[in-house]
Amino acid sequence: MSVKERILRPVKRIHGGTPLPHLKHTAEQETVIMPAPARVRIPLSQHIGAPANPIVKKGDQVYVGTLIGEAPSFVSAMIHSSVSGTVAGIEDYAPGGVGAKCIVIDSDGEMTPDPDLKPFPVKKAEDIAQAARACGLVGLGGAGFPTHVKLKPDGIDTLVVNAAECEPFLTGDYRECMERYDDVINGVYLLKKYLDLKQVIICVENNKPKAIEQLYQIATDYRDADDTVKLMKLPSSYPQGAEKVIIYSATGRIVPPGKLPADVGCIVMNITSVSTLYRFIATGMPLVAKRITLDGTAVKEPKNILVPIGTPIRDLLDFTGEDFAEGARVLMGGPMMGNPVADLDSVVEKRNNGILIMTEAQSKQQTACIRCGRCARACPMRLFPSKVEAAYLSGLSDRYNELNVMYCMECGSCSYVCPAKRPLTQVMRVAKSELRRKKK
């Protein structure tokens, strides 16, 4: 095998999927750095698990990277200040749900890094998970699962680096490949060394040829004797970046329902997570800013912006000068899985990767299901959404339980393809919570 063949590996398995429009308008634009907003509100729960405990009080001086929220238990995450300034207090954070709190910090506009930050020495496997914990790292692809929880080395032989970025519009991970490739590769080798991995597979969708070329060059420069670091071009079909799908594409392994990637020897990390972890280990700067793709049908000048965590969306839009008509939809995340925000005081969180503003009038009129089967063919979990919908509408909870609605990952593919515009994903979501409620 030539070097190229040894590094650039073919996809192991192909699993259905739906072609989506790419709409990656921002792909070739350098990331813009947003200056410090006047005030940030940093939620204490930006992850799955227990909210962090605040360790600062009103009037405290903080810097960029100062620890302000401490994780109380294993499944939780540290929270750091994203600006320098003074703590103005601890408030309720309405968009986060009942009882959610945030730390409000008035910025001094200087963005002074915390003088106490120093590189985090890594000497053994456990240190990697410690570093991820201290960095406040969570799944940056959207799930917000604390990273250190999955970085336990037992039984893991493969790291899958997820750079698929299969949602339309979003290009944050692509820009990470293009702008900070060194951090990516350094991070990969660091993880490989300390977690004792047999292989690292960096997965990029084939609609990003430049990123693949870039990573290939770097990977060749760094390559070790046995080519443990591989690069894989995934077909661009949605949801290629979903954890179970990407593991299947990269390794051919199947994660059974209810199991974790670790059960089949894999860790999946978003590419920005890998480079963020490396930067933390090398410089001590934790996760305090996130690259956000600002785009959507109502956005005039789409761009990527590096935004301090906790910046209100209102400030972000003021900075970019975007304006939009009433009744527009503002989404956090991609168009397939993103959540609509109810008001512009919602803030940018660690797990956000895009803010999309969409004009209304995209929802078409619903008609009756014509049983075309497209929803079933699109479903990555091989469910039958139209049957679930029918069962749900007739109130047959046993039936939709039998149809395995609990396996649904709410990827949105079924609603996307449906010619009758049935609200399938929405029904799946409601049916799932119905079953969860029943179980209790």
Partner: protein, 308 residues
């Protein structure tokens, strides 16, 4: 100040295909063969097609109006049913019979079962069979192309010595129902639908393939059997109806093969010269069972079963 923002459930983008668009594509695909049928059999054929379409749409419109249901004629499915029914009629059927057929298709077969997506057999085929049973002599009176002379028999029913050449049959220079004569134009329409991803190619391929294979294996005249009669119209446009065909890949293959074999059995051993409609309708009835037997396991569920 709070802005008014819309909050809707994800996903926030939708594919452009709609039910109406899909039906529109089917109509476009049927047009060449329908127009050709009118040229072949004269203006009365065009009248018949128009009557079928209008009475199908009218029946659906009135049904919705009288029962105070949301109006559904905009989805164009009634136009497709009317066009298909018309294309399955002999060129000089009395108009009132065509109207009866249309009403049966829309009211009895489609709306009484709950409308689009709920009928368990194909409305156009069911209506054709009802007409066939009620008015057998009218429904089997076919005409020679252009001349309007009553054909002694369709090529299917003809004895071997008067069978026209395969090339004639393929391009459609022979007697038969209005829309079924030109296999070539129907194939063209089918290709369009496959390219537009409207129909699943497995159904017509398995249908026609299974039929051709068994005809050949039992020493039948493959060319004549294939290109005369309603095989192409049925296999491409009626067996692929979403509602009445299976939705799993293996199911569609079984369904296609089943249709092909039944058509062969009816044509060879039945007293009827044509078996396409009957075989499709028989297979329609089996669809729920096929679907259940070939249902998917969720991704990874097999592995769970193996480990336990």
């Amino acid at each position: 100040m709070k802005e008014m923002l819309s909050v809707t459930s994800s996903p926030h983008i939708r594919h452009i295909d709609t039910t109406r668009g899909i039906m529109g594509d089917v109509i476009i695909a049927l047009c060449p063969a329908a127009v050709y049928g009118c040229i072949l059999f004269g203006w009365y054929a065009a009248v018949l097609l128009a009557v079928c379409i209008l009475s199908c749409v009218g029946a659906e419109y009135l049904w919705n109006l009288l029962l105070k249901k949301p109006q559904t004629v905009g989805d164009l499915s009634a136009v497709v049913t009317g066009l298909l029914l018309g294309m399955n009629l002999p060129a000089k059927l009395p108009v009132w019979m065509a109207v009866i057929g249309s009403v049966v298709a829309i009211i009895v077969v489609k709306q009484m079962f709950g409308g689009i997506g709920h009928n368990f057999v194909n409305p156009a085929i069911a209506a054709r069979i009802v007409l066939m049973v009620s008015f057998p002599s009218f429904m089997t009176k076919f005409y020679e192309p252009f001349s309007g002379v009553v054909a002694s028999a369709t090529p299917l029913a003809a004895t071997a010595d008067v069978v026209p050449s395969v090339r004639y049959l393929f391009f459609g220079m022979h007697s038969g129902c209005i829309g079924e004569t030109s296999a070539f134009l129907l194939l063209l329409g089918g290709l369009y639908l496959i390219l537009r991803r409207v129909i699943n190619p497995f159904v017509p391929i398995c249908f026609i393939g299974a039929f051709a294979l068994i005809t050949w294996a039992t020493g039948g005249n493959v060319g004549t059997q294939l290109f005369s009669g309603g095989l192409f119209l049925g296999a491409i446009f009626m067996a692929t109806d979403y509602t009445t065909s299976p939705s799993t890949p293996i199911g569609t293959i079984l369904f296609g093969i089943g249709c092909g074999l039944l058509t062969f059995v009816i044509r060879r051993f039945g007293s009827l010269p044509e078996g396409v409609s009957y075989s499709i309708i028989l297979m329609n009835i089996l669809v729920p069972h096929i679907d259940r037997l070939t249902a998917f396991k969720p991704f990874g569920a097999k592995e769970v079963a193996k480990n336990e």
